[in-house]
Symmetry: C2
Subunit: 254 residues, 2 copies
DNA sequence: GAACGCTGTTTTATAATATAAAACAAATTA
DNA sequence: TAATTTGTTTTATATTATAAAACAGCGTTC
């Protein structure tokens, strides 16, 4: 695959910014990229011209620009699944007071496409655009479980089962067993496996051809939602997931 | 300002996608960019490698990628004003049932940073990341009105007063008069000037040093909100705007 | 207040890359 | 079935990106 070096470098510069690093100066970027500061300057000025990067007038430091917001939202709106799922996430959140999410698979991770915050459960981890590991989350388990066998094998090749909380699944065998359970019962759960104090359930969304396209979840605080209430929420979740699948043209109800 | 041509071209390719054009094939991009298809191929593959562009496995067409969503949300979360304003927009929307927005100035346009949809007023135009003209919108008028004199002059130099609805302001003099009125009364209104059937009011948000940093607005449907209710909403709007300014360290209440 | 250090920006020679022409394989269309 | 179009790959070379050097400005230290 051909790589355009200058473009590759510019995109890597943009990767230097994260939630803890919101601004950088040229010399810092130059050091991290191991590029001459005049090279970095040229790349930054081109990104700035297009609005992907901004330079603070007072400090001279660079930050991510509004064009990313524009393009990101444009990208989001082009996703039918997000439009189709939105009102169901809102309904489920209002019915239960909990926080609901829509997630898709990208590579070997999930990505949050939507989040509706419930007044009863402020969930900190999830955020639109953020990535979520497959093995530690309900949405991740669902997204993996319903993949074709060869796709699951490919996902698990060299997969890193990092320990996130004390109860995170950390072995491949345990994860495969969990996926079989998910497939059997039609939904998944992560019980504080990704975030202490948070229990989530997720259900699959299928498209017209029967393949999984996304997962929706409901997230609750362990301290406020007991087992029987949680089970009732799962039923509601599955109902909304099915409704979304039907609007996408899915016709097989298992 | 030095421009890196390959980067410039790649970013222009990304600009080819909009709300009506969500996917393109290489030959289409090649034609629009007037570049050889093997040049376009190299640029696309580099963008794809970083996740900014995706190629549909079935059709071979290219689309905007999830990296834009990730970076866009990262950018949004780095904005203090968005964090500071959020709960006030939610409160105002819940109190009134209407749709509320947060907008900042970028160049000669506003950009929506937040939107809270009210159950009583589904507003179609606004969307996070979208741009809004200054002369036709309440938020735009406020963002312009509170700028320093020289900044207003610069904004208006070569400004295009396009007619958007039958009642849009289309002359510079009328707009300047409007900005003076806004400054005088402390809020602005667009009465179907940007979107037929929609009336909005906006109020300024100031930061600690007294300069304007953003505007918040409340949008209503003309058919459901009469004049006296609208006036009551303006008072609530100004109250929330002032509260946000105070949290940002602003100390002068006019 | 002067000197020093660091920063961001500009200029330009040239090493290195991006570009497009040609070719190829695959898919689509007539 | 043949022709056309598409996406991908290879590679010669025209063109650009790169970094060294220099400059201006700002902040810090003495």
């Amino acid at each position: 695959m051909p790589i355009i070096q200058a473009l590759d470098r510019a995109l890597k510069i943009m990767d230097l910014f994260d939630e803890y690093t919101t601004e950088l100066k040229i010399t810092e970027i130059s050091a991290r990229m191991e590029l001459h500061k005049s090279t970095v300057h040229s790349l930054l000025k081109t990104l700035q011209m297009h609005g992907y990067i901004n330079q603070d007038a007072e400090t001279g430091k660079y930050k991510l620009g509004l064009k990313l917001l524009e393009k990101g939202q444009l990208m989001l709106q082009s996703l039918d699944i997000r439009t189709a799922a939105r009102k169901h996430l809102v309904a489920l959140s209002e019915q239960t007071g909990q926080t609901t999410h829509l997630v898709i698979l990208d590579g070997k991770e999930g990505v949050y496409l939507d989040k509706v915050e419930g007044e009863k459960a402020a969930i900190r981890y999830s955020r639109i655009g953020r990535r979520i590991s497959l093995h530690s989350s309900a949405v991740g388990k669902v997204l993996a479980a319903y993949r074709a066998k060869d796709e699951v094998d490919s996902l698990l090749r060299n997969y890193q089962f990092s320990k996130i909380t004390d109860v995170t699944i950390t072995s491949k065998d345990a994860f495969v067993n969990e996926l079989n359970l998910v497939k059997h019962q039609g939904y998944s759960i992560d019980n504080e496996e990704n975030e202490p104090g948070v229990r989530c359930a997720a259900a699959p969304i299928f498209e017209h051809n029967g393949s999984i396209v996304a997962a929706i979840s409901i997230s609750t605080l362990v301290s406020t939602v007991d087992d029987s209430l949680f089970k009732a929420y799962i039923a509601l979740l599955q109902k909304e997931a099915e409704a979304i699948s039907l609007t996408l043209g899915f016709r097989h109800v298992l």
